[in-house]
Chain length 249, copies 6
């Protein structure tokens, strides 16, 4: 049977993040867009963010195990809202430490999910060392998963494009918007997913405002005749590897 | 009559270059691809490259006017081969000097051609100051052409994306391939256009080799299942402004 | 009479901007803070922003002279609200062209106002070439005004520190917040000054949101025990020259 | 009892360095200034510099333990001269290796000393890998110490500003003076502290010359009317995080 | 016996690479030139490239041990062709992990070979993490080998200049040609050495084309009257440390 | 007559500077070394530094013409001391303005002197805009002088290497020492030339200290067995173009 006749495999997106909430704030729109197109989205959460991103729960006097459960529950509901599957690696945060074992687990995920697109943190974040650690493992595992000589189950992968989502303090992290993604049509879904994260309620409006601002920039940078909505919402990304194109646009 | 019912205006590409040969070596593939899709391509050559890029003719003892005619003729044949229109501004090269008048002429071209895409030189070139001068005028005119308050004929333009084509010594000019354009299907056309430039025959093979190398990199950076040809030819570009996207890919 | 006994000269701030509205959106808080301390603030507007920043008026069919008057009136009311004096140079915008004459006029302003602090645009702005042009003249005039050999009235100046205020698209303009200025106590004044700029009403909320976000970052970067207000408003600046300090803090 | 009525806690400075001598050459002025203001200064020396910075002692045939004692004694006398407390971690130099244990010890120091200011090495040094290793642990521990979820004794800390002191070859280490600290009034104390370091006598004059040169630059960058001494001595620092300000100056 | 009367020790070059083939593609010309001058060249191959650079062998179904033998044999023949000695550390590739033990082994090689020149990979390579890992160990070992306090056999070394050879995708790895080495006279030797690497036959022409292109750039950057051959072949290098010179040329 | 039999033309160095004193402070050692080897050195001083670098004379109440004469006289005596010829273009400083006419005069100097080496200011200097202006003209004229199509007397030139000498505040001007030139053997000559510049006596010791410090760095970066003097004096340079080499060293 030739490839043309094969039942189509839906496109696959792999999101690799340090903490349970990252995929919602930073890439919820991209995840919802892919899911809305019927594509598969797999989120690899290396930790629950149990120590570094759960200050409210610690102040309330909760225990470590309980906090992990809260974060897991929130993230699962947010992922379901967006239409994605989330997997937890429970590698321990603050600090998240890069290890050969964890990287190897990511190689297995790459080979299993065969991603067409990869999303992860950018290389720098002076306010949170877990984010660069996740970036390094995500990039290294992507390369190892391409090598037929690297052991493990599953087929080797190609060279899927990588996108870095926006950190909390972009100018301090060397982040420059290289792609502005129009998420207007899935904005309500992203907002609902954010509202699953009860522990960080102060961020709901913060990331709504960010989407408005990136939307203004999208319109400012868009070519003519795009028929953009009055209120365009957007997410910003960087591309560490060259874009492959059939047409300049 | 609504926009949906209007007779479609073909997409428009504007290429702004310093010298007569630049659009062939550096962007001939992109030009041929657009033309092959039935789009309009307009090439604005600010000079003929009569002083700085015509050493052979000077060594043969030719006069300035004659050299300009040779370069004009070569460029017109190359443009016709690619399927584009070329216009000369005869602004004088070596050095090409940025002036308000020349910039204003470019504003008029922007407003007339209403480009969906703009191609020009990158910002740096330590081996040829005319290239950055062309870049500066191309970018400034694009901004002025957007302003309703800037006088002149024609409608204002939107914010068409800009692509910088590859300079002769990329690593010395801060050039990093951000877009790799697959030009395999129009490669023969680009080669024929290069062969119109008899004065620079030594560059035919040089730029063929470059297309091969950029093609190797394209394949190295491409995702899986793209069905790329065995010998992929490519051109490299930079994007000074963010890409606007409906999907990450 | 020794310096200690001299009647105190109030501190002086000089703001050099390209267009009539820039000092409000980008530095209104710093201006209001200085004025509230009883200091002198002089704003040098090189143009009215009559071509590039007045799209609404052009769309309403107004004439150039009329538009200049509108912008002048708005800017004067905004400056008065902030407690500053504004001067117009009417040098023509879009493009603002750096000239020796205009630079010389700025030297005269430096020598007359003897600034303790200088505020101006940063060096890059891919969306508006007038801003970098204003930056270049502001910096050059500051150096010339220091030289006893440069002709003109008034005493030479020292080396006042320079601050670059935030451009509209900071990440695209190489802008990194190096100073976060707490403007909470003058926020209402800045908002009132913004509301003087009727032609750009869509920016009122945009720059309010920006002040909130920079305030969040201020709190995130502040040391302990600062007693910050719940809702801190801030403006971001860069420092092109080293800070001179008696204490690290 | 409200904070306003509490007996004032003196300001606290924490200096984290790789080797025993670093705090003297690079930050002795800042340390002496803080001590002269009655503040607490704690110096965390991760190693004695016993292998990499003690060539003279090795050439004299001394043993490792003896060399450590020499360096400890020198550093303690220098710290006492400056008015600071020094603590040794004896983590082993050349190479100093970043470990979770050592980082955790630094978290404890942060929480105990509750620093208002942190001084450490910059991120790069192609001539000595121990310096960047100390930088990485100093920055990571500062973030961990802020998290209520990170275990350990003591209260969490705020976000104290960080200053990088000057490396031995600043231009090769990406060092740009962002703060010039006037240390004229404590210069004699710094010189006396340097003279405690008998093993590196050749550096006494080297770092005196550096202080003169940084002083010349301070005067060159200072605003008018500062009443600077004829011979101003200075130290240079970088600021990796934004300055928080109530006033631009 | 004074140094002047000592039998001359030939100059020594040390090449530190991640994989078995690197020294051929990237530095074969420099190696052959040194050998042709009668100098000693030692190549330290940290791994055989058995997992990451041997896709063909894996596809043929070979075993790990067998693949290592193939790569070892190829590299030994290539080294012999160039006139150099190659040593294998068998540290395991994909990923090559920096360890204190491996770095210590490199210190021993430095002290044994007393290199006058060191060649290694540059600091970045987004396509292959083993190359930066080799770079880090090569640089760290060079510093440790200079310290009399670092234990081990052999004399300490001086500060030999370091050259980074060209990565496979130079623009994506921050590589800028800072030295263009004329390898025309040993080109045939380099080509023969490349042809020893049967597993990567597709690279023979790729690296021949690269040598032509670097040769064109060499001629473009050469001063007058150098009497260069019509077809100059070259290799490009970076210098991370300053050049020491008796004359500007 | 073949080139081999022709009477040897001595090597030629061209130094292009903004002000009368620059070649002494910044490149006096390189000039003296070349002259000591019997080479020709031509110094093109675009201005006398009459407004920006002659504060003492202005404070003494001297007239413009008189100040120019003082500076000319000083520079001529310094050049004679170093063994070089100096030419003045009297283009006016503070600001030095780049013009087509002045650039054309420099083209003529290039073609007349046929330099083997070119020395000039680096591209940035936030403290003195004349230095970057001189840099731009020096680089542009070098390119124009290579073009057979650019009119004017004399033969076209090759592509002589360019070296940027050190600015007054290197870290603030993006200056990184890429070449450290050993000037120990001509140090006394450079000191004597500096002492010809009576108007800037405060700089004699400043630049002596700089030479000591660059000498320390030279020794720190030198390979083994160079037999360096105890007190090595050095000047630092940058190379904007790749070095052409026959050997890595």
């Amino acid at each position: 049977m030739t490839q043309a006749n094969a039942p189509a495999t839906p496109r696959s997106t792999l999101v690799i993040t340090a903490h349970a909430g990252d995929f919602v704030w930073r890439a919820g729109g991209a995840v919802a867009l892919a899911a809305a197109r019927g594509e598969r989205v797999t989120i690899a959460c290396l930790t629950f963010g149990e120590r570094g991103e759960s200050a409210k729960a610690w102040r309330e006097g909760r225990e470590l195990a309980e906090i992990k459960e809260i974060r897991r529950d929130e993230a699962e509901r947010a992922a379901a809202t967006l239409g994605a599957e989330v997997r937890f690696f429970d590698a321990g945060d603050y600090p998240l430490t890069a290890t050969a074992e964890l990287t190897d687990q990511l190689v297995a995920v790459y080979r299993e999910t065969q991603p067409d697109v990869v999303l992860t943190h950018p290389t720098e974040d002076p306010y949170n060392g877990d984010h660069p650690a996740a970036n390094r493992m995500a990039l290294q595992a992507r390369i190892l998963a391409q090598a037929i000589g690297y052991p493990g189950d599953g087929d080797i992968i190609g060279a899927p494009p990588v996108f870095y989502f926006e950190p909390h303090q972009p100018e301090m992290s060397g982040f420059r918007p290289e792609v502005l993604l129009d998420i207007t049509e899935v904005w309500d879904t992203k907002r609902k997913a954010m509202e699953c994260l009860g522990a960080q309620q102060h961020l709901w409006d913060y990331y709504t405002d960010l989407a408005v601002r990136r939307g203004v920039q999208l319109k400012r940078n868009a070519g003519p005749n795009l028929g953009l909505a009055h209120r365009t919402m957007a997410e910003a990304y960087m591309r560490p590897f060259p874009q492959i194109a059939k047409e300049l646009a």
